[in-house]
Amino acid sequence: MPALGVELVDMDGTSCCGPFAIQSLDYTGWLALAARNLCIAEKMGLDIMALCNDCYESLMMVNQTLRTDKETRDKVNEILSVVNKKFKGTVNVKHTMDVLCDDVGLDKIRNKVAKPLNGLRVATQVGCHLVRPKLLHTEIGKGFEVLDDLVQALGAEPVQYDDKEICCGGPLRDIDDHLSRNLSNRKLAALKRANVDCVVTACPFCYIQFDVGQLEIKTLLKEEYDIPVLHFVELLSFAMGIKLEGPQLREHRVSIDSIVRKLA
């Protein structure tokens, strides 16, 4: 991000943002926990950039709810008073893709491409919570094409596939593993049919679901796909000529050697 003119400042003392399993258990508790993170950013006077779709949507929902609903805001601030914090509603929550598209801009990204990814067939998985529900995202207005536009800006070819807008199955992990795997299996089969070089996600959870998921599916459902999975930021690094090394490459459960070789 610094190479694109974005300075990132760590938020000290943040907790987990309250993904959907947490929201499900207690409405007010979730609002207060997520609002605590928002307060930290407010004190720094900086907007939040979330890499993860779940963090993004959770923080965004809480920010919007507390900005517009005074009764709930008072209730949450009463809870936050035990840690000497108060929600004011002064910062915005953005996803990394929002920052790349809106703040950096596609033109600047195109200019920063040192090694265009020509000939690379890329399928994109945006991840539900960057784009749905639509009503929540009216201000920024991202659709499923957001990642295709970014991939195209790097010189690669975005490939369409069946069920592109369907969930990866990740949220059911640890709740109903069987269903979760079957959902991914369907998507991976569609990706295979589309004959893609790799699938690129905007969400780290979709990334895990496809990457780790392929190993599980191989063992338990006896289906083998070998489709490399990358987070968009990794693809961006390749295009900008930033070398990924040792631990970053080893982290992939499905080898991405074929991509590294193709781009070498």
């Binding site: 399993a21 926990l33 539900c128 639509k134 640890d174 709740i175």
Partner: protein
């Protein structure tokens, strides 16, 4: 029905017209006959036993496709949150969700890093992850800890 409608995020049950557009849009519904979002709202409105509703409500992915397509703004994708929270008050929480929630309250993070994860963080040049005691204070004050069976 009124209990659900009066729980945060549950008011949608009042405006559902049972058109079934959610059921046709649901990725879980494509894979299993167990889960049908239209039917779930119908069960709420007919007064089915809570136990049946809690279990079904946890099969929703929260992909929110149904919310984008509902012509009534009944938003069954939101209603499931009301159902789950009503269940949680009586201790009906799936094991996976309970572990995550307890981890969050006790450490500030839903996943407690294993030794290999900590080693991996170090290999990326990241500092060890610190716990966040303020979370427990907030959880106690809001009543969240009590729902989780914590002090």
């Amino acid at each position: 029905m009124h209990v659900v409608a009066n729980t945060p995020r549950g008011e949608g049950v009042l405006s559902c017209i049972q058109c079934g557009r959610c059921a046709g849009s649901c990725p879980v519904g494509r894979l299993t006959v167990k889960y049908n979002p239209r039917r779930l709202v119908e069960m709420v409105n007919l007064g089915f036993k809570w136990e049946a509703l809690f279990e079904l409500s946890w099969l929703c992915l929260s992909c929110f496709t149904c919310i984008d397509r509902c012509p009534q703004g009944a938003d069954v994708g939101e209603v499931v949150f009301a159902l789950r929270s009503i269940g949680a008050r009586d201790g009906n929480i799936p094991k996976g969700a309970l572990t995550m929630a307890r981890n969050l309250v006790e450490t500030g993070h839903i996943v407690i890093p294993t030794a290999s994860m900590s080693k991996q963080r170090a290999s990326f040049g990241l500092p060890p992850r610190e716990s966040v005691p303020e979370v427990a204070k907030i959880a106690r004050k809001s009543g969240f800890s009590k729902i989780l069976g914590l002090k």
